[in-house]
Symmetry: C2
Subunit: 185 residues, 2 copies
DNA sequence: ATAAACTTTCAGTAATTTCTGAAACTTCTG
DNA sequence: CAGAAGTTTCAGAAATTACTGAAAGTTTAT
């Protein structure tokens, strides 16, 4: 499992970025290694290639599985488990979005809902509640929107992205296009 | 600068979420406090309310300013500086997106570009480069798309979000709508 | 049922990140 | 220009997070 210089650079970088992406260095490295390696790779090989303990490797793989970025792959005739990416690049990116939404937005939405239930005790609180309400609505829009985009599926999403500034033009024509159907709000 | 129970809960929560949002606990708390407080607030008041050192407060405010989430506000006749949010909720959310993109995507794009310049040394590297290339293209699309959305401005973006599943329908009609103009790629 | 091959767990340690507070710095004011 | 009012910096301490490796657990083969 000797890593080529190119793979080494990429793996190191993904390690450094790991924490910004929501996991830690080791987890980032393991992910990169699994994605960039066409063959399935065993936990032991990962530990050797990255020079980390077997225990740490196990925990990292567990986390990557909880993010649904990596899955086990059984090689017939082999005793040990191998690991491969849980899908193509597009799928992986989607999973990262989704998981992060769960970790970064959902808990806040839930708290905001609770805080908005109680009647404000005074002026100050009323004002704060207004702000919290604004935040809640914004997060709700983002959540709904991102689910919407995921439902579009890869091809349509790609069309939409490639449309670029066309989106602006389209919006201007929206009312003529979908008369009366835009009553979502 | 006594915080009401409601504000305290919100501030504490934003503190806990802070690290997931790209900054640390204190920074998250300071941000929440500034946003939820209708009046401008001084660094000393922040330190007192959150029970943190004056030094830590100073660093936190500096970071929030580097994220362009908070700005100074000079009160005539007062010697000290006060702080207020750098815009409405929508603006702040946008800034967070933008800053995170800078920190989470841009460095990777840059590395990928470099790694894709060299000719692959062998089969293994060629395969890895293919994967890296896919990642690069995906990140590029995301970046371009998010810039596009920002250029739309708040109102249109909101229209688009509220459109919900209408987006799918619109895409189907796209070709009729914008004949020949969708040659963005 | 024993053993071999492999994986997971977790207590303790190491590395990293955040926080404090005292000292240095920067304005303003008289 | 002295000093009062305020801010920033930064070395060291505290808190948090990640990692190791040995022990416990699992599975398969005989």
């Amino acid at each position: 499992m000797k890593m080529t210089p190119l793979i080494t650079s990429a793996v190191m970088h993904f390690g450094e970025m790991g924490s910004r992406w929501g996991f830690n260095r080791t987890v980032g490295q393991i992910l990169a290694l699994i994605v960039l390696n066409e063959e399935p790779i065993s936990a032991q090989e990962i530990a050797d290639a990255l020079n980390i303990s077997r225990g740490n490797t196990s925990m990292g793989l567990k986390e990557l599985q909880s993010w649904r970025l990596v899955k086990q792959h059984h090689v017939p005739g082999e005793r040990k488990e191998f690991f491969i990416p849980a899908g193509d690049i597009w799928t992986l990116a989607n999973r990262v979005f989704e998981e992060r939404r769960k970790r970064e937005i959902d808990p806040t939405m839930s708290l905001l809902r609770d805080l908005l239930l109680d009647a404000p005790a005074n002026e100050k609180e009323a004002n704060a509640q207004d702000k919290l309400n604004e935040i809640h609505d914004l997060l709700e829009s983002i959540t709904a929107w991102s689910e919407e985009l995921q439902n579009l599926g890869p091809e349509k999403l790609n069309t939409l992205m490639k449309l670029g500034s066309g989106v602006g033009r389209m919006l201007e024509l929206k009312d003529k296009l979908l008369p009366g159907k835009n009553s979502v709000n």
